[in-house]
């Protein structure tokens, strides 16, 4: 049933319908509305789960990890500094191959303190072994949770997953969201079937020492699982489309790219603005299109290369920066398109909640056409 609801509540509904047994979270803006709603659902008996109020994000993810190791579906949500505090546990969860699912309400990192949106938080954990999905609207934020659980828990994957959606821009925005029924969700997402779990009758140990003779193979197995996740994501996305009418079988979304000369590349809620700007520019005869990276980990090299095979240039809107290098998306794109001759412009933009408007998208297309070098877009020169 389609309802008008806040993005955070749309995510909470997806979590309720996914039936986790344990939820553990610590309050941090702008994630709070998700976990407040879940606390209410648990208190009202709408969701049979243990809701653990912990003393820090470190504890929140640790409690989820412990619960997951016993064979229970788990959920947490955080953002920014909270995710930074979870850094250690994130690597542990992935290394122990526990399929945790966590929502990231994307927000900038301190210092200076900012509660506003960019992608620096989740991007900073791109190397942790978690799948990373980025939602462009509240409906996608809802849907991607089912897919995240399915793929993470698939025995050929067994890696944790982050569903990232933009803080405030989506968490606090009301949109029409189609909420499926419990039976429909159950049919798509059956109960968690752990590959292995803590069981006193058949004892196993998670996270023990791996000497130099073994460590690399563990990491390689994670890499292989991440590569297999591409196929599983496509299959689950296709099945989701058949069941619910919204297809996620592509790891990337192509918008008006068929005959485009210039492709914009973006992630998250910014894609909506970019599409509007593209429609306007198309009306003026400019051949522009968008590549929306819905999946950042595993990085869909083949799909990106295929989708961009016809373009002459690419302009990337990177809402993050690896200080001392470039934006994370820019780096992946340069790797993917190496040797194709496609020109690449990497724009670091929208950090700390700075708005990116349609006119900015147009200007960035102009900069790409003019063949300029990588930039921080839209700097206020007067305060530098």
């Amino acid at each position: 049933m389609t309802q008008i609801m806040e993005g955070s509540h749309a995510v909470a509904e997806a979590v309720r319908l996914s039936k986790p047994g344990v939820i553990s979270a610590y309050p941090i803006t702008p994630q709070t509305h998700i976990v407040e709603r879940l606390a209410e659902m648990v208190a009202d008996g709408l969701l049979e789960a243990d809701y653990i109020t912990v003393e820090s994000e470190f504890s929140a993810l640790s409690a989820c990890l412990g619960a997951s190791a016993t064979g229970v579906r788990v959920y947490s949500a955080t953002t920014s500094q909270g995710l930074a505090l979870m850094f250690e546990v994130c690597f542990n969860a992935a290394g122990m191959r526990l399929p945790l699912v966590m929502t990231i309400a994307n927000r900038a990192l301190s210092a200076p303190l900012s509660i506003w949106n960019d992608h620096q938080d989740s991007i900073s954990l791109r190397d942790s072994g978690w799948l990373q999905l980025y939602a462009q609207d509240c409906q996608e934020a809802h849907d991607l949770h089912y897919i995240a659980y399915r793929v993470a828990e698939d025995h050929s994957v067994l890696l944790p997953a982050m569903v990232c959606f933009d803080g405030f821009v989506l968490t606090h925005t009301y949109e029409p969201v189609d909420i499926p029924g419990q039976e429909e969700v159950d049919a798509f997402l059956p109960a968690f079937s752990p590959y292995q779990r803590l069981d006193a009758r058949d004892p196993i140990s998670f996270g023990m020492y791996a000497t130099p003779d073994y460590y690399m193979e563990f990491r390689y197995e994670m890499e292989r699982a991440m590569q297999r996740a591409k196929g599983v994501l496509k299959e689950c996305g296709k099945e989701f489309g058949e069941r619910f009418g919204r297809d996620y079988s592509d790891l990337v979304e192509s918008y008006r790219l068929e005959d485009a000369d210039t492709a914009l590349v973006a992630m998250g809620s910014l894609c909506g603005t970019v599409k509007d700007a593209i429609d306007e520019m198309r009306g003026e005869g400019k051949k522009v299109g968008l590549l929306n990276l819905r999946v950042f980990r595993p990085f869909p090299f083949e799909d990106v290369k295929k989708a961009l095979s016809g373009v002459s240039r690419v302009a990337i809107l990177d809402k993050n920066v690896s200080i001392g290098s470039k934006g994370a998306v820019g780096l992946e794109m340069r790797d993917t398109l190496y040797g194709t001759g496609i020109e690449i412009l990497d724009c670091i933009a929208g950090l700390g909640g700075r708005d990116i408007r349609k006119r900015d998208v147009r200007r960035i297309v102009g900069l790409a056409e003019a063949g300029g070098g990588d930039i921080f877009y839209g700097l206020r020169e007067e305060v530098l």
Partner: protein, 262 residues
């Protein structure tokens, strides 16, 4: 003494909600600080994250606004590198007792020469009123919609047990006593912990039918019980009412101190 010159007046009005107690806590703290005769560049304020942690932003001295719960760790570095500085922290129950609990007990154990002013408003205020480690049993919050079931921390008892040299608890109703307590804290070598049970009409009050600040003040007036009286009742085997707010000086002693100059 006039402490207005210690205020960043250009930063006013503050972000604090109408009826918030943090303004009173800042005023009492600055009143105590100025009565010490210190100059502004003798003092550094630190804070973590949360409503109370915004306080240094309104004070015209050097300050470090650090990560959630960990201002004490940053402050330890400041104090040991520059022992001549008088280091004062603003923190809250969510900041200090939850995510920063470990730093809190170790700072008390080391007895570092700092003054910690803790605004205990029973809730995570800045993020919208979630239950914290000091939310009373039965009190409502946005994560305990039918009342908290967990036993809360008694932060002053915790500080005392962990080794702080000076511990005192007051409320914004007791402004003179609070100011004197902060001053005593500043004068006592070692870690001084001043806990201020504070009204939060927006976060805590909204969930617990306490939106009216006058009502809150009335509670602070009626339910406060001096530490000496609570101790006497316990000694006589009589019960201390469970909703009593035990106030007063908990301890003033001279355990070995870290970070004291000279």
């Amino acid at each position: 003494m006039n402490f207005l010159e210690w205020y960043r007046v250009d930063r006013l009005p503050s972000i604090f909600c109408a009826g918030c107690g943090i303004g009173t806590v800042i005023n009492c703290t600055l009143s105590a600080v100025t009565s010490m005769g210190w100059r502004r560049n003798d003092v550094v304020f630190l804070s973590g994250i949360g409503c109370s942690s915004r306080a240094p932003g309104y004070i015209r001295t050097d300050s470090l606004h650090t990560t959630h719960g960990r201002a004490l760790a940053f402050a330890t570095g400041v104090k040991l590198a520059e022992p001549r500085l008088n280091v004062i922290l603003f923190t809250g129950d969510g900041d200090l007792a939850a995510i920063g609990g470990n730093h809190f007990i170790h700072a008390c154990r080391r007895n570092i020469d700092l003054t910690v002013v803790c605004v205990n408003n029973y809730i995570y205020g800045m993020t919208g009123g979630q239950g914290s480690p000091t939310t009373p049993v039965g009190a409502r919050s946005s994560t305990t919609p039918y009342g908290s079931t967990e036993t809360p921390f008694d932060l002053s008892e915790l500080a005392m047990a962990a080794g702080a040299n000076y511990v005192s608890r007051w409320t914004p109703y007791h402004t003179k006593e609070l100011t004197a307590a902060v001053k005593a804290g500043l004068e006592t070598p070692g870690l001084s912990f001043i806990e201020v049970m504070t009204q939060c009409p927006t976060g805590y009050g909204r969930a617990n039918r306490l939106r009216d600040v006058k009502e809150f003040m009335e509670i602070f007036r009626m339910r406060s019980m001096l530490k000496q009286k609570a101790d006497r009742l316990l000694k006589e085997g009589k019960p201390v009412p469970p909703d009593a707010i035990v106030i007063g000086e908990f301890v003033r002693r001279s355990r070995p101190v870290m970070g004291r100059r000279g």
